[in-house]
């Protein structure tokens, strides 16, 4: 392998090239999934992804327009399932949205006990080198999260921090992981992605991860 190859494959550019490879869709299998999860939780990497999306966006002109069937009704039925919103017609305001959100909240609160028999959720997070694992189990009725960590502990002055990424794509901290087992309380749903990043001791100083994302996996039925 030439010096140039070595530079290309492992130089300081490697994160930026990974972002380009991810945007283009060159990656397969676990590499693709790992890059996708990283783009969700690692702000610096997400910014690189955005830069590449921007650079390559003019290629979108290559996609020709084709007749699209009118699927709007089906789409609306999926976005607004059985909501009374239709009665308001188009342009119903934020106030109605808030009222609806409030009523949904009340409904959830009232019927919360019925969720107690829902199956437990779990996720196994493994880092790239497969030396560090976080076995996560979640009891939905108690909103209790248990994280069992195996592998090397973080260096002095650093902590592992657990994050959840919901449908908005914004990571939210669930807490710092200490020792072999950490118990946390959180409201989680199946399908959300959990991720562990390496942060300064005590956790990220920002609302989002600042350190590298070590492992990520979706929360699924146990």
């Amino acid at each position: 392998m030439s010096d140039q190859d070595t530079h290309v494959l492992s130089g300081p550019d490697s994160d930026d090239l990974l972002a380009a490879e991810y945007v283009l869709g060159l990656l397969d299998g676990p590499d693709w999934l790992a890059a996708r999860d990283r783009a969700l939780v690692d702000q610096a990497f997400a910014a690189r992804v955005q830069d590449w999306e921007h650079r390559l966006a003019p290629l979108n002109a290559e996609f020709v327009e084709l007749p699209a069937p009118d699927l709007l009704a089906a789409i609306e039925a999926r976005i607004f399932p059985a909501r009374p919103a239709r009665r308001f017609g188009f342009g119903w305001g934020i106030a109605a949205g808030l009222a609806l959100a409030a009523s949904v909240f009340v409904a959830v609160a009232l019927f919360a006990p019925q969720f107690s028999r829902e199956p437990a959720l779990q996720a196994d997070l493994v880092d790239e080198a497969q030396t560090l694992t976080f076995q996560i189990s979640y009891d939905r009725s108690a909103a209790a999260l248990s994280v069992v960590a195996t592998g090397p502990e973080p260096d002095e002055g650093q902590d592992y921090e657990l994050w959840v990424i919901d449908e908005t794509g914004v990571p939210r901290s669930l807490g710092v992981l200490t020792g072999a087992q950490t118990r946390l309380t959180a409201a989680l749903e199946p399908g959300q992605t959990l991720a562990v990043s390496l942060e300064p001791a005590g956790g990220s100083p920002e609302p989002t991860p600042t350190g590298p994302v070590l492992a990520a996996a979706p929360l699924t039925d146990a």
Partner: protein, 182 residues
Amino acid sequence: MQDEITRSLLRITQKDRAALNVLYQHAAPKLMGLLMRMLGNKAEAEDALQEVFIRVWDRAAAFDPEKGNGLNWICAVARNLALDRLRSNRVRQVSQQVPVEDVHDLAATGPGPEAQSILRAEMEHVVRCFGELPEDRAAAVKGAYLMGLSYQDLAARYDVPLNTMRTWLRRALISLRECLDR
């Protein structure tokens, strides 16, 4: 001045349901073209089209008009969704049967009817930068972007080892970045 797609996206961040209708009328044909090219199957493309609008509704808050126009943002959402489906092997990629030569004609196709003069200038810049690459590398990069071809697909298509394809394209991407940022 903002275009109709960008405006309706900004209204969708306020959960304005009428804006979804406007967005669909303006963006669905482009997205249908994108999804057909990448997924190569009408039923799959139509199913993905619904999913794109649902994602757009959920994630519109992430759209920043300072960082690009609305059409490019939803194209990125649609490409990501198509890649998700291709990479999770839910879709047999019919589009892979299209010969790579098909993606040589970047300049010939030209911007779509919705493209404005700024977009045309950007396009010319991109064409020039792709023109600086060896022809097969340029086609491979475009094949990935437009058809969702992976390293593996491209290596098979060009009949070179996977690592060779990876090295070629990484060099091509470094040159492209250098040229596009100029």
